[in-house]
């Protein structure tokens, strides 16, 4: 079905508003129930309690409440969503939206009311660790259970009303309001980064004015941030869009120049920024870089060649251990103490061989068997490093410690004590990895990978040696991952088997899928967003309060991405076409028959060509 979601308010003829009497009660109950359940669940995970310490706006709003409060709004908005079909007019928004929104919101709020009452009267602390008076006090704003019960009904209703009411506004206003809210939340999430950067330029007073000492924006700061965001969105959006369109329509040398400009600009920013920020932020950047490197490697395996490798961490581990054994003076059996760059050659060779060794038998399998087997290999490699049997070589659970730094032609030594240099080192390798992936994607080999991904049988019939091609993807991915491992060993200064759990593979997989399989830009963005904001398996991100929940969120995100947007955040054009082929065909058909505008809203019809991606 070509059901493009649009909200009323775009420039088409409308049917008269729906009447309140016609409310879709089943949908309302279902949506409200789900929202209430989600709210209770989130509360019981103690997310609000933990996140209450993180304020968005000083002494007004904490991040915990942003999450709970957003749910009725979303529910209220979803209720009155209309599926737009070609040739069927959309109802104008009216009282229906408001009443429905308020009702759904109240239902959602009722979930928390119920929770407050339950916590007051029953004690379920035994299985549910967060079933505590602390949670109740937080939810009832320290004013007793009755107040808590009522206030959530009220908050829910108000939220739902807002959500429904958003549909009454014109598209432009709605976008502006949403942008304002998002910017404020974003500004508070990115606090560490922004403060560090602004102070680095020498504008501490500005930072102090915007951000409160105990975290969060000041009230005035939030106001100004929202105002700036609002004004730019309200007046600037058309221009942004036009500029993007213009770049997209550029062709030939002009486009190349535009792209080169963008790349140079990004490179310049990446080189300058670390100089301005402190070591904590640099540490964060270095972690993100390591994961970008890993994700780019996995992207070749999963994204381009379509091989679901769940044991990717094995290559990370092998790279780390090889570098550690060859460079550290303390490694148990052999310690040649090579310089890091010499060791790197061995790392590449050894990981390549391991990739071949694992890949050769595995690659003939298809799909799910392959996933399980790679998972098995990933675990076996970790168990081997951990075992007493090989501890003479790799130190067993003690790992290898005291790994030296990277010497660069005797000029400086890069080690974990200086995260800025580590970041630059990672940056160099990221650049190499990006270049390699970019060239490979457009090479004969890259096209072969994609053919194999789309249909192995057909690819084989086209004369592609599928086994060799897939094996190559495996090995190239392995080598890219081993770079990351080698730098990791060097950065941390020690390697332990516990750093290479299957968990790491999963996190990298989430990064690749969230960003967009097969899309270089997407993968980088995914790594920056997930690892930077939420944090890696062991590395803290910007939202340190989240560390308990990040894996939960990763799991939910993986499922949700698969359901809602399997092509990822910034999809590669070709991949999204594969996934939405039917819609594409139907859209094309409609365009031929009916002059339909291709306004795709922000509801996520990913059918249109994604911005910033290369033409295919």
């Amino acid at each position: 079905m070509t059901a493009t979601e649009t909200r009323p308010g775009s420039e088409e003829e409308f049917a008269p508003p729906r009447r309140v009497r016609d409310l879709d009660w089943r949908r309302l109950l279902r949506l409200g129930g789900v929202a209430a359940f989600v709210q209770m669940f989130i509360s019981l995970t103690a997310m609000p309690v933990r996140l209450d310490e993180r304020s968005v706006i000083e002494s007004v709003l904490s991040l915990g409440f942003v999450f709970i409060g957003a749910i009725p709004i979303v529910a209220g908005n979803r209720l009155s969503r209309q599926v737009k079909l070609e040739g069927v007019a959309v109802h104008r928004a009216g009282r229906y939206e408001l009443v429905g929104g308020a009702l759904v919101g109240t239902l959602a709020g009722a979930g928390l009311s119920l929770l407050v009452m339950l916590i007051t009267h029953f004690d379920l602390r035994e299985p549910l660790v967060n079933w505590s008076p602390q949670l109740r006090d937080l939810l009832s704003f320290n004013r007793g259970p009755v107040f808590g019960t009522l206030i959530w009904l009220g908050i829910g209703a108000a939220g739902g009303l807002i959500g429904g009411g958003l549909r009454l506004l014109g598209a432009r206003w709605r976008r502006t309001l949403l942008m304002m809210a998002t910017t404020v939340v974003l500004a508070s999430i990115l606090e560490q980064l922004v403060v560090d950067l602004v102070s680095g330029v020498g504008l501490e007073p500005v930072a102090e004015w915007f951000y409160a000492r105990r975290g969060g924006l000041t009230q005035a700061g939030a106001g100004v941030t929202a105002a700036i965001a609002g004004v730019t969105t309200f007046f600037g959006r058309g221009r942004m869009k036009a500029a993007r369109e213009r770049i997209k329509t550029l062709d030939g040398p002009a486009r190349t120049r535009a792209n080169a400009g963008m790349i140079l600009l990004t490179a310049a920013i990446l080189i300058v920024v670390p100089l301005l920020v402190g070591s904590l932020t640099n540490e964060l950047l270095a972690n993100v870089g390591l994961f970008v490197l890993l994700a780019l490697g996995l992207n070749i395996v999963v994204g381009l060649a379509g091989i679901l490798d769940l044991g990717y961490v094995a290559f990370f581990a092998v790279g780390s251990y090889t570098a550690a054994v060859l460079t550290a003076a303390t490694s148990p059996r052999i310690n040649p103490e090579f310089p890091w760059f010499v060791a790197l050659i061995f790392v590449v060779v050894i990981t390549g061989l391991v990739g071949l060794f694992i890949g050769a038998p595995v690659i003939r399998m298809r799909g799910d068997y392959l996933a399980i087997v790679t998972l098995g290999f990933g675990e076996i490699i970790r168990l081997l490093f951990l075992s007493d049997w090989l501890s003479g070589w790799f130190g067993g659970s003690q790992g290898i410690t005291a790994i030296g730094g990277v010497e660069i032609f005797g000029l400086t030594t890069i080690d974990g004590t200086n995260p800025r240099n580590i970041f630059y080192l990672v940056l160099v390798f990221c650049a190499i990895a990006i270049y390699v992936s970019w060239r490979l994607e457009r090479s004969r080999l890259g096209r072969a990978w994609m053919a194999v991904r789309e249909d192995e049988t057909v690819a084989e019939a086209m004369g592609i040696n599928t086994v060799n091609v897939k094996l190559l993807a495996f090995v190239v991915g392995a080598i890219l991952g081993s770079f990351s491992g080698a730098i990791f060993a060097n950065k941390v200064g020690s390697v332990f088997p516990s750093s290479f759990l299957i968990l790491v593979s999963m996190v990298i997989l989430v990064v690749v899928i969230f960003g967009g399989m097969g899309s270089i830009v997407g993968v980088i963005a995914g790594a920056a967003l997930l690892i930077g904001v939420l944090g890696g398996p062991k590395q803290p991100g910007l939202l340190q309060e989240f560390s308990e929940f990040k894996l939960l969120i990763y799991g939910a995100l993986l499922v949700w991405m698969m359901l809602a947007r399997p092509e990822g955040l910034i999809p590669s054009a070709r991949r999204s076409r594969e996934l939405h082929q039917e819609e594409f065909l139907q859209d094309a058909w409609l365009r031929g028959e009916v002059e339909s505008d291709d306004d795709n809203g922000d509801g996520g019809d990913a059918g249109t060509a994604p911005p910033g991606e290369a033409r295919t």
């Binding site: 660790v129 679901l308 038998p361 996933a371 290999f377 081997l384 049997w389 308990e548 939910a556 359901l563």
Partner: protein, 286 residues
């Protein structure tokens, strides 16, 4: 079973098992507090089992409804990745809801801990073996002798044709998940009673091993699955000692899981249709 019908590995199956064990832990501890666990063990065990089977079934059905049904007909990699996500989610949900510590079951009564019979087997182990046998028979009856089972097999064979024959594919798949969930819940209880504790990642290895057992025995072949389970179990407990010790490998017990994985890999490589499985056409498994 689920694999046979759906054609993809449900990584989250182990997590259903874990949640079953968790539920069992909660209810049995409550019953133990009330004193029922000691005074009327059989009755309370039945109650606990019933509760956790219910929860596991519910979880499995919800999982199917929310995560897998919308993806039916999507490219094959996608449900697979989704199931990884679901498994990840449930594991971590258990951490944040119940806390990360390992939780213990109440003490089993003495007659389950004593050694019985001439084989010197713990009572609990006998119970597990009996339960496994009973559930095997029940499952066999369900799949081979009932109408529902017939529908399940038909969907496994070819869901489109099954739909044409008037079988409600969605309902059948829900039933498959429910049955799978029920068995996982039951296994969870047995695990809890036998090993006495449960933790959030309890489900991971058993899930993988269950899959290996199913593959070793031949997918969709119930008797094979049972023999496969036995085979994997024996190989992993005896294999390290028999094979690795003579090779001069030290600390073999640490490599137990590595051996289990190696076995799985070997089986998948050498005989993907399993020991007893009928030869599958190549296109069936793609």
């Amino acid at each position: 079973m689920v694999y046979g019908v759906l054609g993809f590995i449900n990584f989250a199956h182990g997590e259903v098992f874990m949640m079953g064990a968790m539920t069992g832990m909660i209810t049995s501890n409550k019953l133990a507090d009330a004193g029922l666990w000691d005074s009327n063990f059989i009755g309370s065990l039945a109650l606990v089992m019933f509760g956790s089977i219910l929860v596991s079934m519910f979880l499995a059905v919800v999982m199917e409804r929310l995560a897998y049904r919308p993806l039916r007909g999507a490219p094959r990699l996608i449900p697979l990745i989704t199931s990884i996500g679901v498994s990840f989610f449930i594991q971590n949900m258990s951490i944040v809801l119940f806390g990360p510590a390992s939780k213990s079951y109440p003490r089993r009564p003495d007659w389950l801990r004593d050694k019985h019979t001439f084989l010197e087997i713990e009572g609990a182990r006998i119970m597990v073996i009996v339960a496994a046998a009973v559930s095997m028979i029940a499952l066999w009856y369900l799949v081979e002798r009932t109408k529902v089972g017939k529908a399940m097999r038909a969907v496994a064979e070819d869901s489109e044709i099954a739909a044409l024959m008037g079988i409600d594919v969605n309902k059948t798949i829900v039933k498959v998940f429910a049955v799978g969930g029920a068995f996982a819940g039951m296994a969870g209880i047995l695990w809890g009673v036998l090993f006495g504790s449960v933790i959030h990642n309890t489900g991971f290895l058993p899930g993988i091993k269950a899959f290996s057992a199913a593959v070793v025995g031949g997918i969709g072949n119930l008797g094979g699955a049972m023999v496969g389970g036995l085979f994997i179990g024996i190989a992993e407990s005896v294999g390290p000692l028999l094979v690795l010790e003579p090779l001069g490998v030290s600390g073999v017990s640490q490599l137990r899981d590595a051996v289990a994985f190696a076995m799985l890999i070997a089986v998948l490589l050498l005989r993907p249709s399993g020991i007893f499985g009928e030869r599958l056409r190549a296109e069936d498994r793609t």
